[in-house]
């Protein structure tokens, strides 16, 4: 069977509307499933990396690093003949991100095939899926998909009866956002507390148990089967702007029809929020948005016509991150939302380095005071300073710099709201917004 090159939605093409189960292996194969892997097995591993690099596939976990380039740092077979590992990062826990869950629950074979292709490219014979503990349905469906694939010789020893073997193990985690940071994830897999490692050495050189390891996000890996089948040129043509491929974009918050859609990379924010999301609910105006999860900078209504791609959103001072947009409406307190985010980051800090461990609770403390009407003008300078001290380059990992992004951008975009809280001595949104959440 030939796969049609007019295909625009490779990530979701097997998932039928109105169903809720996982795509069964038979259907998956009837739709051309595991052909990408078959193709990959005919190619020298280096050519697979080259193809993926040329296609311009960038990491869908949020950082947007070129996937083929990431693989290329793994030592070659001539330089290193020992064990290598592939790890799928399925620890989706970014506030406002709900895309990997969909792929994991609905089309697990797409992920497994993607993993086999990536493993072939880097020479790994063992792979782990690092799945967050709060996704029990995904765990169940992945476990049965792995068993199905193994009994059909699509995974396990002798894939397609040939020399390539891949053992895929499902690792169920037990909470903690920091596990999604790739080096903390490696520590967690090794059975240690999930504390980030210093880089270098990078995981591609020294990762799991000191062996070369690649960590890729779920959605990233799900791009591989069709990319292998249909090629780099086709893949690049899926994007609307400079960035290649399609992408799962989502909207949550007070829009009419919140949801998740596969769209061309580079789709404008306005189209996602207004056409897919149906626009704001009656009685609500858009005040701002987080373009790609809780650790991205706020954008304002003036940014609605920007294309959702890594470069355009980056240039506007934010990050596309996970591509799942959270909309802030005009009846919700922006200071309250920033407080909610900072409480999350403070709680999820692993405590390893000072700016994060001490800075985040301090930020929470100040924001609580402001929200409750006890803030002072000087608090705003202090928040700026703390955001700066938690910024890039001052911490072991990206958790605190990620927390600083919505904080710092909110001080620019919503400064009048901060000032109103302080001058008025209370929250101007108090009648709309529910009371502060209780917390342990």
């Amino acid at each position: 069977m030939r796969i049609d090159t007019s295909l625009r939605t490779p990530l979701t093409k097997n998932i039928r509307a109105g169903t809720s189960g996982a795509v069964p292996l038979d259907d998956y194969r009837k739709n051309g499933g595991y052909r990408g892997l078959q193709k990959a097995l005919t190619m020298p591993p280096r050519d697979i990396s080259k193809l993926v690099q040329d296609a311009g596939l960038r990491g869908r976990g949020g950082a947007g690093f070129n996937t083929g380039l990431k693989w290329s740092f793994v030592p070659s077979q001539e330089d290193y003949s020992g064990q290598r590992y592939l790890v799928c990062n399925a620890d989706e826990m970014e506030p406002g991100a709900f895309k990997d869950r969909y792929l994991l629950e609905r089309d697990p074979h797409l992920l497994l095939e993607g993993m086999a292709i990536a493993a072939r490219a880097i020479g790994a014979t063992r792979a782990y899926i690092f799945l967050r503990g709060e996704y029990p349905l995904a765990a169940e469906r992945l476990r049965s998909a792995i068993a199905e694939a193994e009994s059909a010789s699509l995974l396990g020893p002798g894939v397609f009866g040939g020399k390539f073997s891949l053992q895929v193990h499902l690792h169920r985690s037990a909470g903690n956002y920091i596990c999604g940071e790739e080096t903390a994830l490696l520590n967690a897999l090794e059975g240690k507390r999930a504390i980030p490692r210093a880089k270098p050495p990078f995981p591609q050189v020294s990762g799991l148990w000191g062996c070369p390891t690649v960590v890729n996000n779920v959605e990233t890996l799900c791009n591989l089967p069709h990319l292998l089948m249909l090629g780099a040129e086709w893949y690049r043509s899926l994007g609307r702007g400079k960035n290649a491929g399609s992408k799962l974009f989502g909207v949550s918050g007070r829009v009419k029809t919140p949801g998740l859609w596969e769209l061309p990379m580079g789709t404008p924010i306005r189209e996602i929020v207004e056409q897919c999301g149906g626009g704001m609910q009656p009685g609500y105006q858009l005040r701002g948005l987080l373009p790609g999860g809780g650790s991205t900078d706020f954008l304002g209504p003036q940014h609605l016509d920007l294309a959702m791609d890594y470069d355009v959103i980056g240039k506007a001072g934010s990050r596309m991150g996970t591509g799942t947009i959270l909309v802030l409406d005009d009846k919700t307190c922006p200071v309250g939302l920033v407080l909610n985010l900072q409480r999350f980051f403070a709680r999820e800090s692993c405590g390893w380095c000072t700016p994060c461990r001490d800075g985040l609770p301090w930020v929470v403390d100040i924001l609580e005071r402001i929200e409750q009407g006890h803030g002072k003008k000087q608090d705003l300078d202090l928040l700026q300073e703390l955001a700066h001290r938690m910024g890039p380059g001052k911490t072991f990992c990206a958790l605190a710099p990620g927390a600083a992004e919505p904080l710092e951008s909110s001080l620019n975009l919503f400064l009048a709201d901060y000032v109103a809280h302080i001058e008025q001595g209370s929250c101007p949104y108090a009648q709309n917004t529910a009371p502060l959440m209780e917390t342990i």
């Binding site: 826990m93 690792h171 037990a174 240690k192 918050g253 939302l337 209780e438 917390t439």
Partner: protein
């Protein structure tokens, strides 16, 4: 000095499951979290006695294992109710009113986050983003997701769970 808690015994089933996981890893160190999860599945939580038994079985210091157990939010080192309600408190759910949901649970069950009802049925915990943001506010109870929560849905859920446990007793 308080008496140290008695060391408990691991069941054959627990040991078999732990050893089943061992095949997935080149060393035995990753078994720590797997073993904690397995024991919790059987016992509802990880008591001091169970922790000691596991440490003894895995041949690791108790403190080392406890440093893992207390690190992970979903490993319970205190008894929990038979139904653990994981109420998402992240950004999308907050915008869509999870604090009202929390307040309603407080009114109906008289528990806040980290607390268990006197009848031992419900424990309420706050949890980071459950990845269902387009259906906010959401909560997970056991392995079930409950979406687009409002007071009526919470009342119906509490009623159903209470009835199930009362009829089991």
């Amino acid at each position: 000095m308080p008496e140290p808690p008695p060391i408990q015994q691991l069941s054959a089933d627990e040991i078999a499951e732990i050893e089943h996981e061992a095949a997935a890893y080149p060393t035995r160190q990753p078994l720590g979290l797997e073993a904690l999860r397995i024991v919790q599945q059987y016992r509802g939580w990880v008591s001091d006695g169970a922790l000691q038994a596991l440490a003894h079985y895995l041949k690791v210091p108790v403190a080392e294992l406890d440093s893992l157990a207390t690190y992970y939010q979903l490993i319970f080192r205190q008894p929990v109710g038979r139904e653990v309600m994981l109420l998402c408190n992240s950004a999308s759910c907050w915008v869509m009113g999870c604090s009202r949901v929390q307040k309603h649970i407080r009114q109906q069950l008289n528990i806040g986050p980290g607390e268990t009802t006197a009848d031992g049925i419900f424990t309420l915990l706050e949890t980071p983003c459950l990845g269902d943001c387009d259906k906010a506010p959401v909560m997970m109870v056991g392995t079930e997701m409950h979406r687009q929560l409002d007071s009526e849905k919470i009342d119906a859920l509490i009623r159903a769970l209470r009835e199930r446990h009362h009829s089991e007793d």
